[in-house]
């Protein structure tokens, strides 16, 4: 297979791998909070400061950022025709997602402190 033929495969696979993780994580959080625990401030903080939950939540946001990048990129490539506008919007979306990632890191550090 040529390199060009493989060009679209990586985002396609990333989209599916992140989708599976997002699905499992939402299921875990929904079941945990809806059926087994009451949603109180102390319990919420305790849950969020737990190391494994911090890692799982970080992976959730990382997956979501990657997943949205591929998805929104596809939408922009489909509907925005003018080249410069398309480039600008893609750049804006990338900044938006990277910024969101840093924001999450800041919040997780607030919890630990």
């Amino acid at each position: 297979m040529s390199m060009v033929a493989l060009e679209g495969l990586r985002p396609w696979i990333l989209q599916r791998l992140t989708a599976v993780y997002l699905l499992l994580y939402v299921f875990y959080v929904a079941v945990y909070w809806l059926f087994f625990n009451s949603f109180t401030y102390n319990h919420w903080l305790q849950w969020l400061s737990d190391d494994s939950n911090q890692i799982l939540l970080s992976l959730f946001y990382l997956s979501m950022l990657i997943h949205s990048w591929v998805g929104i990129r596809d939408v922009l490539l489909d509907y925005i025709k003018p080249f410069l506008l398309k480039l600008l919007l893609l750049f804006g979306v990338a900044l938006f997602l990277i910024g969101s990632g840093f924001w999450l890191i800041k919040i997780l550090m607030m919890v630990k402190a």
Partner: protein, 127 residues
């Protein structure tokens, strides 16, 4: 002239009748865009919820205002729809539901499960 250049174009959106699989697929895209826009708001609420006990109360109190209830339902529905149709797409990738009847049937199954879950959400959140 190439064949695809001579195909008739008929793009009146109000006259195109999409099959159910097509409709839920369009909504997969729409809800995806909504969820993308919700990312910063989710971070804002996450930050507020960990700041202190009173900010946490503010976030949970959102469930009681009619307008915020509407947005909560919109986001929960977007998430449910996106996840369920996404799961169906993953199964299609694994070559399930390829036949036209099964494609339609699986789309209807998604709609029914979604309606039941939304009913449960409305009962659970507000009643």
């Amino acid at each position: 002239m190439l064949l695809h250049d001579r195909r008739p174009k008929y793009l009146n959106l109000f006259k195109i009748k999409l099959p159910i699989a097509g409709i839920i697929s369009i909504f997969h895209r729409l809800t995806g865009i909504l969820l993308f826009l919700f990312i910063p708001l989710s971070l804002y609420f996450l930050q507020l919820s960990v700041k202190d006990a009173s900010s946490f109360q503010e976030v949970t109190a959102l469930m009681h205002y009619p307008l915020s209830r509407f947005f909560i339902l919109l986001i929960v529905w977007s998430l449910l729809h996106h996840l369920l149709t996404g799961l169906r797409f993953l199964l299609i990738d694994m070559e399930f539901f390829l036949d036209r009847k099964l494609s339609s049937l699986s789309a209807w199954v998604v709609v029914v499960i979604e309606a039941l879950l939304m009913f449960a959400v409305i009962v659970g959140l507000f009643l």
